[in-house]
Symmetry: C3
Subunit: 138 residues, 3 copies
């Protein structure tokens, strides 16, 4: 039986949602003996998944600074501007953090490094419900 | 038997090629019962694979704008400039959209979100033939 | 038995370390009959893995130029600045080349294109030991 789980999370608008514990628990509970790779997938084009530093929240603040610079909200160069100033920016930011994320797993435990956390990065400014798919590959 | 398929696509130069239907059909036909993850791989360093918004072509226009800004053609800072102004730019753009793309699969069906499409992004200005490898992981 | 190998590499500070031969040998020796996908994972948030052009070292020089532009060392906009000017820059550069890399495998052989090499990109300026996990998915 393949291990595949769909679940949703609620974001509070632009920013980072720490999913590390939730993913770790899902892997541990659904496949305690699995060695392989966990694949997390977001079914959206305006949010992303990211492994980054889990200790200092200032790191996420600065990633946000870099993302805004890379794909500014309301950039006058955008042709796609009907859904608000953050919409095209969100699709652009997805080039930096997109829909797929992977972590190796050993006997049901995520092999993350000490400073690695799993985050959903909401690229839109308003809150959204985001659908995620976790597939465990043995 | 592992499900692995090599195929080629022809690009018309810089721009996006929608592969969604082709990948969906390959998965459905070669592994109608598979639940797992589809991995698409481009055997090149100057094109990329990307999941992005499938509805408005203007989104792709604007992604192109962001990519040109990030890695301009013929940037005077480039040391690698023998193969034309778009060559190093193409390698640079591959930092934004590179060789691997993943979609979860449930019973032979891609679990893409409503607005997600699968695209090959040709980073070179001339047409190319591109070799792709689709591997289905159960 | 799943094929999962942990190993470490030593970097000499910022720059690229070619891992192509090492990964190819690990795959060939641990799973000579495997067809599937090799997943390489770095257990760090300040280095990345990348498939890029293997022939001209100038391509890597220019990727470095683009990365420095995208996430400058010591950018005055950074809030996270206690661990040196390259620390936040390294986390930012990981948006361009992050912890996961994939190559399809056919009967123990990497299906890389002719011009594709596998590189670890050290984003910090000082030498580091980096822990990597190779998992082979059939």
């Amino acid at each position: 039986m393949p291990h595949q789980t769909l679940f949703t999370v609620a974001t509070e608008g632009r920013g980072f949602l720490d999913l590390t514990e939730r993913v770790a628990r899902l892997v541990r509970e659904t496949a305690p003996e699995l060695t392989g790779v966990a694949h997390l997938f977001a079914r959206h084009t305006s949010c992303g998944l990211l492994i980054t530093e889990n200790a200092s929240p200032e790191v996420r603040t600065d990633l946000e600074t870099l993302a805004r610079r890379f794909a500014p909200d309301g950039d006058p160069a955008y042709a796609h501007d009907l859904e608000g100033p953050d919409d095209m920016a969100a699709h652009g930011r997805a080039l930096l953090a997109g829909p797929s994320l992977f972590v190796p797993v050993a006997r049901g435990r995520l092999l993350l490094g000490t400073w690695q956390g799993i985050f959903l990065w909401e690229h839109r400014t308003r809150p959204h419900r985001r659908e995620l798919v976790l597939t465990l590959l043995p």
